[in-house]
């Protein structure tokens, strides 16, 4: 972005539209409250004191999918829960992103059996996978920053 001085003290900034839209989307992403199991507790810990997610613009976790743009699937997804995950994903308006937090959401984790969906990418398209069982809050923050970088590199046509 370039800043030019014109008309005395007024500042004028020039930019590409794509850049500023991606910048605003990345810095004000609202996650949906979707903690399923143990990873949810680490997500809550990342939101609370010591590792604060508010400094990344995620002050609130919206309970309603219609008002959020990031779904952090935190925990194991069982076969009974899978249609619910898909329905919630469909209810989120575009643009939307999904972080698969933890081993169970990425690949089924410790549980390789009849009851757990082996990776939530069988149900919803995932952008970032965060490994760990459960991942440390710092790992989740690293995943969120990776997602921010991905968002900054997107084109307008992706969501148009």
């Amino acid at each position: 972005m370039g800043v030019e001085q014109k008309l005395g003290n007024l500042g004028v900034v020039t930019f590409k539209l794509e850049q500023v839209i991606n910048w605003s989307r990345a810095n004000a992403m609202w996650p949906m409250l979707f903690g399923l199991a143990c990873c949810a507790v680490e997500m809550m810990a990342a939101q609370a004191s010591d590792y604060d997610l508010s400094r990344f613009g995620m002050e609130l976790m919206r309970a309603s999918p219609r008002q959020s743009d990031l779904m952090i699937v935190a925990g194991r997804v069982s076969r009974k829960m899978a249609p619910v995950v898909r329905q919630l994903y469909d209810q989120m308006p575009d643009p939307k992103w999904v972080i698969a937090m933890g081993d169970c959401a990425s690949c089924g984790g410790v549980f390789n059996n009849y009851a757990i969906v082996q990776g939530v990418d069988e149900v919803v398209p995932v952008d970032v996978y965060v490994a760990g069982c459960p991942p440390r809050p710092e790992a989740l923050i690293h995943g969120i920053m990776t997602l921010h970088e991905k968002v900054r590199g997107e084109k307008l046509k992706d969501w148009a």
Partner: protein
């Protein structure tokens, strides 16, 4: 004699309960037709006021009996526990419910129906509890497969990737 010895003696006399071979001090075998009366006896006369747990165990490929349903009674005032095991055959997996005696048996029996397929007569609400409504099969039976998914190594990566369902953006 302590409460539990009296209770065991009474159960052995009235219902022909036998000590179970491999359970040590943990369990009397009792026939399935006697279980409701035995539960009533334990609750009313011997102070076993809490039914802590009902669970079951599958001994497939042995078919007679195939299951053992284990009732775990606990007395809060005498601080003692007693277990009754009911053998159930494969061709007729049914027991009468003890929901009338202990209210907590409701969901325990529903879970056993869901996981093992043992039917409880007289139960007020026998539906699936943990599995989805339209699931077929009873998962904790030994002849139900684990549902193990083969791990993807380099040599079979593409095969499995072709078969595995994967959601794409813009679908659904």
């Amino acid at each position: 004699m302590t409460t539990i010895d009296k209770a065991i003696a009474q159960l052995q006399e009235r219902f022909q309960a036998q000590p179970c071979g491999f359970c040590g001090d943990f369990g009397l075998l009792i026939g399935r037709e006697h279980i409701v009366e035995a539960a009533q006896l334990l609750r009313d006369e011997y102070g076993f006021d809490m039914l802590a747990d009902i669970t079951a165990s599958d001994y497939w490929p042995e078919l007679q009996p195939r299951f053992h349903v284990v009732y775990n009674f606990s007395s809060l005032e005498h601080i003692t526990r007693l277990c009754l095991r009911v053998p159930v055959n494969d061709d007729d997996p049914q027991i009468h419910t003890v929901e009338g005696v202990y209210a907590s048996a409701n969901w325990f029996e529903r879970e056993i129906w869901d996981m093992f397929g043992i039917h409880f007569e007289g139960h007020s609400d026998l539906r699936r509890l943990l599995m989805p409504r339209d699931w077929e099969g009873h998962p904790l039976r030994k002849d139900f497969p684990l549902g193990y998914e083969e791990p993807q190594f380099t040599f079979n990566f593409d095969d499995i990737a072709r078969r595995k369902p994967r959601a794409e953006k813009g679908q659904g």
